[in-house]
Symmetry: C2
Subunit: 667 residues, 2 copies
């Protein structure tokens, strides 16, 4: 058998291979992560690498420009070694294995809109309880286990979901000796399903922690909570390492289905991702893994499947079924997560294949399910999910928004990290661009919210037409590239990697398709229930993209509906204003006050998971929510099919749907 | 290190040892079973072996007669090799490893006195259910697991104890593929606690079996039941192989506590015993182990502990506590029993350290817990257990009856097997003995019921005084031996092993202590509740010994109370007779009719276990019974202590308590 040595930089890893495996496969098998939107199918152009030395065969690709070709760029997934090779993975293609990111990190209590949770009794998913059992006598001769149970039942603060106390055989085998050696004084760790997680000598209640976990397609976020103090101790987030196997759930599902060991690999890397976050939190806070008693998970349906090695294939095949929506309680050791080996792992339930536990957790955090008023929740992640309803009904739909909102699949796109261009202003002559970046760092690329900002600015100021095409001659910054027209936002001399940051017509087209799907999805849900946008009292924006979003700009491009502004007077009374009566347009005033029907939930998945970790009432509610929420399949909905093309305009074919934009444009 | 080879016959096994281990230990470690009442403490004299060749050191023992000494007999547990040895284990000391025995085998429906169980809805502990799920569509898009659950919930015949359907992660992982490969047609195996045991393609409901298991200290009995037909297919019993480690629960507990690996060894041999019975039944009926879905266990508290490797030490130490009375549901694989690996194992609950699941099962089978009339249940096994009560109360007590009732610890004693002398008549001149044996086989020894019979006959006919001492000169068959006086029942020329079958004064004394404890225990229970024997409407006799027992003889020796006879007239009316009015004493008539208050339950432990295996109602009842039954500790009861000596007479110090015996003896 032929054997080649492949040397990867910057990882400095040498891999021996047989010449039959492509570079993408070789790298990911070895734990070297190369970004990929299509998981090695050659369809996304994201796994670009540079061959420094050696022979190879490769397929030509439309994703490699002439310039890049000369520099040695090729698609890793289309390239096979024919000698020893030296490969450089450029910054844009590598996924830095373990980086903490700001996205998804939210610990603030105030992000939970369901205010009345404050009235709920504190009753965490698992807790440590210190017990001093009365020593047995001839007249009080209950057995050891029943003695323990009697003491537990006498406690008023247990709040068990399941009243039966359950013990495993190994724990029962050691109980008698343990109780006597420790003079009947012990700390019992009990899950709310009645299972005894552990017992320890004396009072060990001090170290008692839980985790709320949001497994997103792109981002995995984790909060560590002190279960004694009901207090968030810390939070971390990082990229889901599954990113190497596709940007969106569909490409991950295909990878899990079609690659040998694909599901196992996806499962392994998400477990590694979560365990890494745990290890970072544990290190930082100086706690022990065994003192983490409970983990509440809010993931989308596919992520939940991959987290549990449930085959996800049927999620993407009509009629789109998950294996389960209500997932069983599990133990840390059963799923290979480094909490207490018997610690409880519980899941916010899914509603359907495309409405997952992250959405039910979001509904829970918003409180929309117990209000009389009609509201809409929009979760703008890699997938777009929408829920319409109130205390009487909840109806949901999902559509693939694509990863554009996360800055992915965009020519100069990056995620919402430091150095991401987030705010843009263009001079009236179209010659100068002012921008700000996240953290005021030198610009590295444009993130999702920056993209919305840029398109809104260009459109509002007349450099783009309503189809999203550049109006030639309107600005000297509009230019032709190999891949079509583009707008130069930041010249290479100002950027981190000395490459121009641009906005291409293809990028704009991608964004328009994304915003169109979201807007139309929401319209279909409303129509289905006989409502209009004007009936909405609130629009909850969930997901981290939502948090960075400028509402006004989102309305200008037609992503969000043009709900009437409100105006707060000095006496704090709120009035709904018609466009006619609206005071002079003021960016700051509008952002602060005028669009108050829009509510940012932040990472509502983790907020909901946190509620479930801490309150039995929340665990009941989230189950009720999942049962109550109906699901509308947009992909077979006639209105969705027929009206989609009408949304592919800025802001919409029917400009009258967007009165404030109409006014702004003076049409 | 010194090494000796020890060769054991008849097993023909050679063991290498170091000279520091005694012969009993060497044999039992190697799986060669030597009977022992004290588990190697030198206190019972049961582990006699013969050294054929070699040097050894041994302790002299009162259990070895001069004659035996000459023949090379010694106690294995007191003997250490000092060279290679050849050992013969004589038939009396060996425990034939695997023999099926008649004891404990009961399949008859009519032995269940709780008649109203016939009205209960058939609802076995586990069952196979054939399901044809509707294939999913875009409008019926429940997830796979919830689809399964919906179908199950629509079934009227489930009768689940726990309404939540539970599935393990490995089964959930395979579910989606399985359902589609099998066109949504499957056989689901479901335990009554809601756990999915298995799923199989198509309709596999045909093979669906359960086991009812009685783990006795001496005997282990198993019934195989067809869970589709509610029909006993077969039953087997054998000796509990733990017999090598002590006759009674106390010596087993001591062995488990004091010997290194003692608990593990006791656990292993009882599992081997049960698995062997299972393998015999499976072979005979041509079924597969995996089709055995459920096992219901009725064992005494110590046996339950040893079956689950729960340390039993605290059972025998004041205040006498088990680890648990209500044992958790377990799975076949968790306890190493060869049923379906996920098959449910459930336990009839214990009441206390000395009132176990065998007794609660017995109460269940008797139905005494739901009648208005007061009745008494006596379980005559190695331990004697008594329960007094009716639908309003149940009170229990236990006393160590010793193994005499099982023919153990008696000079010529054997268990109730073929060849056991069970019935004895002695000619008026005391010169001739007529006897019958079980199965009419050549006599091999005397069993427990034969012992009662012999003592009653000898006493009634004037060869024994009321203290249980032989009246010298009354019979030429009374003789002196090394160990004291004895009565020659069967001369060696008629017996299987050519040894005389005798009844010694020591044997009689042992029996008197046993019967005294039982009678007094029952008296104390009655007095505790303010009743007398005459208030009893029924005495249920449980245990296999009870089944062979001659009631009339048991009353003569004072084991059972002298309850008034009843007389059935031609018109089927029943009258209670005073002794004065009693018609001429007739052995047959009395056995058949006159002592009708006594009811033989047979192996009520297995009858109760069978009810629990088959009826949800029984599983509820047996739990209620265990909760309701109080326990009276006799070992600290003043009446029990003070009056014990008064019971050490035939039938009792106070002969007026036994009017029919008084009349019979013409006192």
């Amino acid at each position: 058998m032929v054997k080649y040595k492949i040397f990867f930089s910057p990882e400095k890893k040498e891999i021996i291979t047989d010449g039959k495996t492509n570079l993408y496969q070789i790298a990911t098998d070895a734990g070297i992560y190369i970004t990929s939107g299509c998981a090695g199918e050659g369809n996304c152009g994201r796994c670009k690498v540079i061959v420094r030395q050696g022979k190879y065969r490769t397929q030509p690709s439309r994703f490699i420009s002439e310039k890049e070709k000369k520099e040695g760029y090729l698609l890793a997934c289309q390239t096979y070694p024919e000698s020893d090779l030296e490969i450089l993975i450029p910054p844009g293609s590598g996924l830095k294995k373990w980086t903490l990111i700001k996205d998804g990190v939210y610990t603030a209590e105030e992000l939970i809109w369901r205010g009345n949770y404050l009235k709920w009794e504190f009753s965490p998913l698992a807790k440590k309880i210190y017990l001093e059992l009365p020593a047995p006598t001839l007249t009080d001769h209950l057995s050891d286990f029943e003695r323990l149970v009697r003491e537990l039942k006498s406690r008023k603060d247990l709040h068990l979901r399941d009243p039966g106390i359950k013990i495993t055989l190994p724990k029962l085998q050691k109980l008698a000796q343990f109780l006597r050696e420790n003079q009947w004084k012990l700390t019992l760790t009990l899950a709310d399903n009645g299972e005894i997680i552990d017992y320890e000598p004396g009072d060990m209640t001090a170290g008692s922690y839980g985790l709320a976990l949001d497994i997103g397609t792109t981002t995995v976020a984790l909060s560590l909570i002190d279960l004694n103090k009901n207090e968030v101790l810390g939070a971390k987030a990082t990229y889901n390492q599954q990113m190497s196997f596709g940007d969106d759930v569909i490409s991950r599902i295909i990878y899990a289905e079609n690659e040998t060991g694909g599901l196992e690999k996806l499962n392994r890397v998400v477990r590694e991702t979560v365990n890494w976050l745990i290890s970072e939190l544990v290190k930082e806070k100086g706690i022990e893994n065994k003192d983490i008693l409970a983990l509440e998970v809010a993931g989308n349906t596919t992520m939940n499947h991959l987290f549990l090695s449930l085959p996800p294939g049927y999620i993407r095949k009509e009629p789109y079924l998950p294996t389960a929506n209500f997932l069983p309680d599990l133990k840390g050791k059963e799923i290979g997560i480094n909490i207490h080996s018997e610690g409880i792992v519980s899941f916010c339930p899914n509603v359907s294949s495309y409405i997952g536990g992250d959405v039910t957790a979001g509904i829970l955090a918003s409180g929309m399910d117990e209000k009389g008023e009609i509201s809409l929740l929009i979760d703008l992640g890699t997938n777009g999910e929408m829920v319409l309803g109130n205390k009487d009904f909840l109806i949901s739909a999902a559509c693939s928004a694509g990863p554009a909102f996360e800055g992915v699949g965009i020519k100069s796109g990056i995620r919402a990290m430091e150095g991401a261009v987030e705010n843009i202003q263009i001079s009236a002559d179209g010659k100068k661009v002012k921008y700000t970046t996240i953290g005021n760092k030198p610009p590295a690329g444009i993130c999702g919210s920056g993209l919305v900002d840029a398109v809104a600015e260009l459109f509002k100021d007349g450099f783009l037409d309503r189809k999203g095409k550049f109006i030639l001659e309107s600005s000297s910054l509009i230019r032709e590239s190999e891949e079509g027209k583009e707008f130069l936002l930041v010249p290479g001399k100002e950027t981190v990697n000395k490459k121009d940051i641009v906005l291409s017509e293809a990028d704009i087209s991608t964004l328009i398709r994304s915003k169109g799907a979201i807007y139309l999805g929401a319209s279909v849900l409303l129509e289905e229930m006989g409502y209009q946008f004007s009936d909405l009292k609130k629009i909850y924006l969930a997901g981290m993209f939502g948090t960075y979003l400028d509402i006004e700009k989102a309305i200008i491009i037609g992503l969000l509906p043009d709900l009437p502004r409100t105006f707060v007077q000095d006496n704090n009374a709120t009035y709904e204003m018609s466009e006619q009566k609206l005071p002079e347009f003021s960016q700051t005033k509008v952002r602060g006050l005028a669009r108050e029907k829009f509510v940012f939930l932040g990472n509502s998945a983790i907020s909901g998971a946190k509620l479930c970790l801490l309150y039995g009432e929340a665990r009941n509610k989230v189950r009720e929510i999942a049962k109550k929420t109906t699901y509308l399949e947009l992909s077979v909905n006639p209105k969705f099919m027929n009206e989609y093309s009408a949304t592919l305009f800025l802001p919409h074919t029917n400009i009258d749907l967007f009165p404030s934009v109409k006014k702004l444009l003076n049409i």
